[in-house]
């Protein structure tokens, strides 16, 4: 029998799968490094929470609204930052994440520093499983469509993609919009699971954690995100047995895992996969022509 502790971990794993898979679309498939994914999660969590609390919307409608609002912010963030590449984009997403957190912390409607209380408990195992399946199905459909191919083309070589007639701006915004949509969905599930939300949990460390899930599972592999998310949700719980050494083990584990499988658990070795891609380029060594 599953105790509610296990159910809780499975639900959190499910939410993390949604977060990691949606981040994978932006970072793993489109090649846009984002370290601010938690911002969309918090927007979704607050928007859906407020829809439930203030407007009295039913749960599923609130979830949808949260996802939609997050998606709108995703497009908004996507638009001006399209000129930015690589780590410059990363830092803008990070800044966005911190700005969102600070604004929510100082707003009255969100409960500010006290947090938003009194949400009903709606998220259960079934809802999460259904949402995970929907997320993975939709993302798979997108990735196997024209859009998906365009996204991968952008990751592999943006200039070439543009040369091939791909409207890179349009597709990058789509990636951000869709990624943020599902992140918002995850946020809505999150807030209706804990019945309480506070902005401090959506800081850049959470974004980093989500990025770790994606990289650990394998960039550009949706199933990898599933594995990565479940692993990084379960491992800290398993490490509870080691009490005071817990975080030490966790840090060491990240280093060791990357050393053993740098391409991620389900990632592909770089041969034949993005060999020209700047994103997957060997860190230390760039070919002259590439610069």
């Amino acid at each position: 029998m599953l105790s509610s502790y296990h159910v809780q971990i499975i639900i959190l794993s499910g939410i993390n799968v949604i977060m990691a898979a949606s981040l994978n679309l932006i970072t793993g498939y489109t090649g846009q490094l984002s370290i601010g994914h938690a911002a969309f999660m918090s927007i979704g969590a607050y928007a859906s929470g407020l829809a439930t609390l203030l407007l009295g919307f039913p749960f599923y409608l609130s979830l949808f609204i949260g996802a939609l609002v997050a998606s709108a912010f995703g497009v908004l963030l996507g638009l001006p930052t399209l000129k930015l590449k690589g780590d410059y984009l990363a830092i803008v997403t990070l800044g966005f994440c911190e700005i969102v957190r600070i604004v929510i912390l100082n707003m009255d409607i969100t409960g500010g520093a006290v947090g938003l209380r009194g949400l009903p408990k709606e998220t259960d195992l079934l809802t999460v499983v259904v949402c995970v399946i929907i997320t993975l199905l939709v993302l798979t459909r997108i990735l196997h469509s024209r859009v998906g191919h365009a996204l991968i083309a952008i990751r592999e070589d943006e200039t070439a993609a543009e040369g091939m007639g791909i409207n890179t701006t349009y597709y990058k915004v789509i990636a951000f919009g869709v990624g943020a949509f599902f992140a918002g969905l995850g946020g809505g599930l999150f807030s209706h699971f804990f019945r309480y939300i506070h902005p401090n949990s959506f800081d850049f460390m959470r974004s980093i954690e989500q990025l770790c899930m994606v990289v650990l599972g394998g960039l550009g592999n949706l199933w990898g995100s599933v594995v990565g998310a479940v692993a990084l949700t379960a491992i800290p719980e398993l490490l509870r047995a080691s009490a005071d050494y817990r975080q030490l083990f966790y840090g060491a584990l990240l280093i060791i895992m990357m050393r053993v499988r740098p391409e991620g658990l389900l990632g592909t070795r770089s041969e034949g996969f993005g060999i020209k891609s700047k994103f997957f380029r060997y860190s230390g060594w760039k070919k002259k022509g590439e610069a």
């Binding site: 930052t81 600070i102 280093i255 990357m258 997957f280």
Partner: protein, 290 residues
């Protein structure tokens, strides 16, 4: 008031600049965001604090020892956590860096305990009250030490053989290797110098704010990274400029806009700057070739 806040901002900014230098040097050579840099900063502060309080070592000497030991730590981290990943995807090294950061922070917590320690001030409290602003002795020292460290770095990079090798490696590793440059050594040297700067910054912040704690590296590490990007990551004068600008922006934001939104203001400025200049203030726009 305005001039006073400007001075506050510049002092804060010069410490950010020192942290940013470490980030930017490492990035310039191996394109890695060295997340463990904040922990090196913390380590440096702890070493100096322990030397000063327990062994009564003079401040400047303990600063140098802290820089030396932190350099060793930086090189060790590079050797253990980054070198094996040099041929791996970039993000793998990033995750490894995050792992190193978590590990070191919690190691410090484990050994030193969570309470902040007092860093006894080596200088007496003296404030020079000029007409338009006041500056304390310690602030002057921070500005002075930062200035000389940066000057030294500039000299090292522009005038020495090692500096030349570093610049060559940053430009093109393969060609540099063909020219007989030992890439491994250059990378180690980069970590050595970058970590020394991080430690110097940690020691000065420790003295300035009079406290040292295991988690002290978290926010400054992030800010240093932001400053490095703001100036154009990989660009050394850029890191200095970025650091100063970030310090001033943060101070002005807190003073004139709202102290509640201080960090938000700093990040908003960052985003605006990057939208206007997508590769940072002094970064070069690299044209992609197909």
């Amino acid at each position: 008031m305005l001039s006073q806040q400007l001075v506050n901002g510049i002092v804060l900014g010069s410490t950010y600049a020192l942290i940013a230098l470490g980030y930017t040097m490492v990035y310039g050579i191996i394109e890695l965001i060295n997340f463990a840099h904040g922990e090196i900063y913390m380590f440096g502060a702890f070493v100096a604090m322990l030397l000063v309080t327990i062994y009564k070592v003079p401040f400047l000497l303990s600063l140098l020892v802290a820089m030396a030991l932190s350099s060793l730590l930086g090189v060790t981290i590079e050797f253990l956590a980054y070198r094996p990943l040099r041929r791996a995807p970039r993000l793998a090294a990033l995750i490894s860096a995050i792992g190193a950061s978590i590990f070191l922070q919690n190691l410090a917590l484990f050994i030193m305990g969570p309470r902040p320690y007092n860093f006894p001030s080596p200088f007496e409290r003296r404030v020079f009250n000029l007409e338009i602003f006041a500056i304390s002795q310690i602030e002057l020292y921070i500005l002075l030490i930062s200035f000389f460290l940066m000057l030294g770095l500039h000299f090292l990079i522009m005038k020495t053989k090692l500096g030349k090798a570093m610049r060559a490696t940053a430009q093109d590793k393969d060609t540099a290797a063909l020219m007989g440059i030992n890439i491994d050594k250059v990378i180690s040297a980069t970590f050595l110098i970058g970590s020394a700067f991080g430690a110097a910054s940690g020691v000065m912040i420790g003295v300035y704010f009079r406290s040292v704690s295991p988690t002290m590296g978290l926010m400054p590490g992030l800010k240093g990274f932001v400053a490095a990007v703001l100036g154009g990551i990989g660009n050394i004068p850029g890191a200095m400029l970025g650091g100063l600008l970030l310090g001033v922006a943060e101070t002005m934001g807190a003073a004139y806009l709202s102290s509640q939104y201080r960090d938000a203001v700093a990040f908003a400025i960052l985003i605006v700057v990057l939208i206007l200049k997508p590769s940072g203030l002094l970064g070069k726009m690299v044209q992609d070739k197909v």
